[in-house]
């Protein structure tokens, strides 16, 4: 026989459908939104990785000033360094030979002429001819008759040959001597004296492009720069989000994100390099997930920069300069970042030397692992999941909480039934299974619907948000184990165990206790004394005392709600706050990072700007050993730390000039994130080398813009083995105009910081709105459930006071007022608790990301987060009042459980 108690479950569902509906909506929304975020995230990452494989992303690229010869390409492919010494010697000898040959010929001709002339003059003298004119005539005729033969003869003479050989030898020796003399400088310049060098074999592909002008509204004014690639390129393919590849000379496919931003679509015509093209496809190039025009751009520009595809014929017809860009693939893939860096390093040596010996020039060299346009989005995607993680943790806590109170409420309500069933012989296990089935079914239903929505509607929403920010490839549905574990398995397990714990613990009580409704562990033996207030007031206080455990639950709920509201309001506030404080995030109004500190001629790059101050910098990693608090989805790994060498008496960074070597100042962001203090020893290590450095924290510099360490320039040069006169760039109060743009790697101004936060707001804005409204809905649902429980638990008493003749308004004031007072008082207290809890959670989540920004709420948001809760409660109390009115009097009279 099937356990007849099973029949209760659908009935229970039907009878209390609104409660379960709220719980299911709660679960569906939370699980749906969060799993949508995770699934969207994982699908996007998978699509990116699949794209890298299928669309054959390069391992790197280099651009030459001229088209490379077959020989040069072959030489670069071999990965071998060219023999630069020999090249210089050969080049020197070849030049020297030309000079020697010319000098020897000139000398020989001069000598032959002199010999002939002398012989004629001698003969003329013997014949007594003195007329100079006659002598000259004789010389000319002798020259005509004998010069060629004499020259020939002289050339064949042993004497001459010897002399020539000597001249060549001398010249060659001079060349070799000169090359050898300068060899150290050459070696140094090209990094040729590297004992660890090993050839890296690569396969090279032409990936030529034009940087053309794009006029997308055909008004004759250039709107953007468009980088155009050939359709038949064998490398760096594109994924088509819409439409197709161009097939005729008048067709073009452009970047989808750019098209969205500038408002053009398939079928529109745009002007490129003065020619009209019809847009037939919207694409995402595998190496342009973000539209970074230059790798040194701090932020991408999807408005002013575009990438596009043309047919080979149309491409060849473009008038703009052709960029000889070559992409390469390693024949043996490097395993990790360190190997990638090593390969790139060796390849660059080969490239520099080979282009040199083949008389070509490198305009650009960019290994893919450093390529912003293909790495920015995936890295940024990682940090996007921070918000999702926070939401996930709150979800788990809230769900656990809801079920804990729901279960204990159910058990209390059904105490007599449980007592009777136990007395009749139902075992604890049977009843445990029975009481666990309901919440489990509800959670499973919520989880299933939530996951379905997560994989469909909410995933689309997440993907849409990503498309809103980046030029992402087409994205399929990707199975996300993380989403399943975090949004479904953990809540299910949590619920299972919370249920098991509470039910099993409650069912430990004897059947008799259940029958007597004696479920409390400790019962007060004496009633509390209450001052002689008015009767109703004392009654209210009694209700308050009597419902203490329920109010404790309500208070916990209010804390959760405030936590959720703090998150909903605080996240956008924190981002805005970060943007507003952009000025504090930079050391100077202008920060110039230079490509090198000496120009091509070896002169130190100087400026006449009086406020300019040199600094040095390098990037190291700090291990996040303290981040084990929460295991989230973030990038994890190590924190990137910028190490600055600061000029003594710097006007931009306040550190003592006499800071001892090995002592450093750290940025306030570093201190906030990792809880450092003076005297702490920090160990930083190189990312691509097995090398680490120890520093002692000697002080804190007020700088929230990043995780940074400061030391004196001298110490910097010493620690990192740099030249004493070396530096990385300039801080300046004013714009520096006298440094060649080619020498500047990047300029950071407050505007750039604002641009970053704006981009962040643009990227995350959608997420945050969803978070905000989900949180507000969930907060309302939670307070509804909690208030419902209090009224339900008091149903019997309410019914009884109704029988005694109390009016509904009086009962409302008796049962709703205490709740209202509790909610109001504790909404303020809970806000404080939620606020600090949020700061703590934020800190823990920041650990999984690089960089730091603190949790911040504006005073308006603080007030709103309390007001929202109170408005929510006001609605709920109206529902409560209706509920009280509906409680029939026979509840107290009828002996019905």
């Amino acid at each position: 026989m099937r356990n007849p108690l099973v029949k209760r479950i659908p009935k229970e569902l039907a009878s209390d459908w609104h409660k379960y509906l709220v719980i299911v909506i709660f679960m569906v929304l939370m699980i749906g939104v969060i799993s949508g975020m995770y699934v969207g995230h994982d699908s996007m990452i998978a699509a990116i990785n699949r794209g890298r494989e299928e669309l054959k992303i390069e391992d790197g690229s280099f651009e030459l000033s001229e088209r490379a010869s077959e020989e040069l390409l072959e030489a670069i492919s071999s990965g071998e360094k060219a023999d630069v010494r020999q090249y210089f010697i050969d080049k020197g000898i070849s030049e020297a030979d030309k000079e020697v040959a010319k000098a020897v010929e000139d000398e020989l001709q001069k000598q032959v002429r002199t010999t002939i002339e002398d012989a004629v003059r001698e003969q003329c003298a013997a014949y007594g001819i003195t007329d100079e004119q006659m002598i000259q005539e004789q010389i000319d005729s002798a020259m005509e008759a004998q010069y060629d033969n004499a020259l020939k003869e002289a050339r064949n003479s042993e004497e001459f040959k010897e002399a020539v050989e000597d001249a060549y030898e001398e010249a060659h020796n001079a060349v070799i001597e000169e090359v050898d003399e300068k060899w150290n400088d050459i070696e140094d310049q090209y990094g040729l004296n590297d004992g660890d060098f090993h050839p890296v074999q690569i396969t090279i592909y032409e990936d030529f492009y034009h940087n053309a002008s794009e006029d997308n509204d055909n008004d004759g004014i250039e709107d953007a720069t468009v980088r155009i690639f050939r359709k038949d390129s064998e490398i760096n393919g594109a994924s088509f989000i819409d439409g197709r590849a161009p097939e005729s000379e008048s067709e073009i496919a452009i970047d989808r994100m750019h098209a969205d931003n500038v408002g053009v679509k398939i079928g529109d015509t745009i002007t490129v390099d003065g020619r009209k093209f019809e847009i037939v496809g919207l694409l995402s190039y595998v190496h342009y997930l973000t539209l970074h025009e230059n790798n040194t751009d701090l932020m991408f520009d999807a408005f002013g920069f575009d990438v596009a595809m043309l047919t080979g014929e149309a491409f060849d017809d473009l008038p703009s300069r052709l960029h000889y860009n070559y992409s390469y693939m390693y024949d043996v893939k490097p395993a990790d970042k360190i190997e990638k860096a090593d390969c790139a390093d060796n390849l660059l040596k080969s490239l520099i030397t080979q282009t040199l010996v083949y008389d070509n020039e490198i305009d650009d060299f960019l290994p893919e692992y450093l390529r912003q346009a293909s790495n920015f989005a995936p890295t940024d995607l990682e940090s996007d999941s921070a918000g999702t993680s926070i939401m996930c943790y709150i979800l788990i806590a809230v769900i656990a909480f809801i079920f804990a109170i729901t279960i204990s409420n159910t058990i209390e309500k059904e105490a007599s039934v449980i007592g009777t069933l136990r007395a009749s012989g139902y075992s604890r296990e049977e009843l445990t299974v029975h009481y666990m089935s309901m919440p489990l079914i509800v959670t499973i239903a919520g989880a299933v619907i939530g996951n379905i929505l997560g994989y469909t509607a909410f995933r689309k929403m997440a993907i849409y948000l990503y498309y809103n920010s980046y030029s992402m490839p087409e994205c399929g549905i990707e199975w996300s184990p993380v989403a399943l574990v975090k949004t479904t398995i953990i809540p299910l397990l949590l619920m299972f165990f919370i249920n098991l714990f509470i039910i099993a613990r409650k069912l430990q009580l004897s059947p008799l206790k259940f029958l007597r409704h004696d479920l409390a562990k400790n019962r007060r033996s004496k009633a509390r004394r209450i001052p002689a207030w008015s009767f109703l007031r004392r009654f209210r206080i009694r209700i308050l005392f009597q419902n203490m455990p329920n109010y404790a639950v309500l208070i916990f709920g209010v804390i959760f709600i405030e936590l959720m509201l703090c998150f909903a309001f605080g996240l956008p506030d924190s981002l805005n706050h970060y943007g507003d404080r952009a000025a504090d995030m930079v050391f100077a109004d202008y920060q110039y990072m230079l490509m090198r500190y000496k120009d091509e001629d070896g002169n130190i790059i100087e400026t006449s700007e009086p406020t300019a101050e040199r600094f040095s910098s390098t990037s190291l990693l700090y291990p996040k050993t303290r981040s084990s608090v929460i295991d989230g989805m973030g990038s994890g790994g190590d924190e990137s730390v910028t190490v600055y060498g600061i000029a003594d008496d710097s006007t931009y960074v306040d550190i003592p000039g006499d800071l001892a070597s090995g002592n450093v100042y750290v940025s306030s962001a570093f201190v906030s994130k990792f809880g450092l203090k003076n005297g702490d020893v920090i160990t930083l290590h190189e990312e691509y080398e097995n090398k680490s450095y120890e520093f002692t924290v000697a002080g804190i510099t007020d700088y929230d813009g990043g995780i940074a360490v400061f030391m004196n320039n001298g110490s910097f040069a010493e620690v990192f083995d740099k030249k004493a006169d070396g530096f990385s760039g300039y801080f300046s109060r004013n714009e520096i105009t006298d440094i060649d743009a080619q020498d500047i790697a990047v300029v950071i101004t407050t505007k750039d910081i604002t641009k970053i936060t704006n981009q962040l707001m643009h990227s995350m804005g959608g997420f945050m709105d969803i978070f905000k409204y989900t949180m507000v809905v969930l907060a309302a649902a939670l307070i509804y459930l909690l208030a419902k429980i209090i009224i339900e638990r008091n149903e019997h008493s309410i019914s009884m006071v109704k029988i005694l003749g109390f009016k509904n308004s009086e009962i409302g004031s008796l049962y709703i007022t205490p709740t209202a007072v509790i909610v109001t008082v504790f909404s303020v207290i809970s806000f404080v608790v939620g606020y600090f809890l949020m700061i703590w959670i934020f800190q823990a989540v920041m650990m999984q990301m690089d960089g730091y920004f603190a949790f911040y709420m504006t005073p308006v948001s603080m007030v709103l987060s309390v007001v929202y809760l109170l408005i929510g409660y006001a609605f709920v109390s109206v529902i409560d009042f209706i509920r009280i009115k509906k409680i029939p009097m026979d509840v107290a009279l009828k002996n019905v459980e």
Binding site: P4, S416, V417, A423, S424, G425, L512, L515, K894
Partner: protein, 235 residues
């Protein structure tokens, strides 16, 4: 009737400690024979419900023991006690404690499920006069009807002992007599041993065995040789 089916021996039970200590059972001895209709009679506080609870294995004595068919309850662990209740006992309370969201038939099935030898549910419904109400929910029934259901839930198990704790305590005169007649019928029809706790003196007249309790001890332990049917009771 067999002798000594249920043996209660020197049973003691107290509640509270120190000055508040109250001895509820102060050494109780009697036996109940199989198939007997036994009434435990006494005023409030005489310990009859506590005794019933101990017999039912849902409370434990401080000393003394209870044995059923020679098996001592004190030797049983929690699991064995559950099996004991499941196999041997049916419970009827003054409060009916029906499951509100199961209908009449289903509430009776809750009892049938526990038994290896359950009675036919339909037959029980007929016996209890609940056929017309079998699809109704508890809150659609009168108190008497609910108590019938609660009796049905207990007897459908075909228990060895039917424990009734003031089954008519909340019912009117007429309904009470109907309920008592039903219990009497079950006793006669299925040979179920009935132990009924009541403070209603009149009910002793329908019992085979009357145990009168006062202040935690047995004052009278009588066999009623002149029992009358429930329908003839009057109070």
């Amino acid at each position: 009737m067999e002798t000594d089916f249920l043996k209660i021996s020197d049973l003691k039970k107290s509640f509270g400690t120190g000055e508040a200590r109250q001895e509820v059972l102060r050494g109780m001895d009697f036996t109940v024979r199989k198939g007997e209709f036994c009434v435990l009679l006494g005023p409030s506080g005489s310990g009859k419900s506590t005794l019933l609870n101990i017999i039912g294995g849902i409370d434990t004595p401080d000393s003394g023991y209870i044995s059923i068919n020679g098996d001592k309850l004190e030797d049983m662990d929690e699991k064995q006690l559950t099996i004991y209740r499941r196999k041997h006992l049916g419970y009827v309370f003054q409060m009916y404690n029906l499951i509100p969201n199961l209908n009449v038939k289903e509430n009776i099935e809750v009892g049938a499920y526990l038994s290896d030898k359950p009675l036919d549910v339909e037959e029980v419904l007929t016996t209890l006069g609940l056929q017309d109400h079998k699809y109704k929910y508890p809150n659609q029934l009168s108190g008497g009807q609910q108590q019938r259901v609660s009796i049905g839930r207990a007897v459908v198990k075909n228990p060895d002992i039917l424990m009734c704790d003031e089954p008519t305590g909340a019912l009117d005169y007429k309904t009470s007599k109907e309920i008592l007649a039903l219990i009497e019928d079950c006793n006669a029809r299925y040979g179920t041993t009935v132990i009924m706790v009541t403070h209603n003196e009149a009910i002793k007249n329908m019992a085979d065995h009357v145990v009168k309790l006062r202040d935690g001890v047995v004052r009278h332990n009588d066999i009623n040789h002149n029992k009358i049917p429930a329908s003839e009771l009057d109070w």
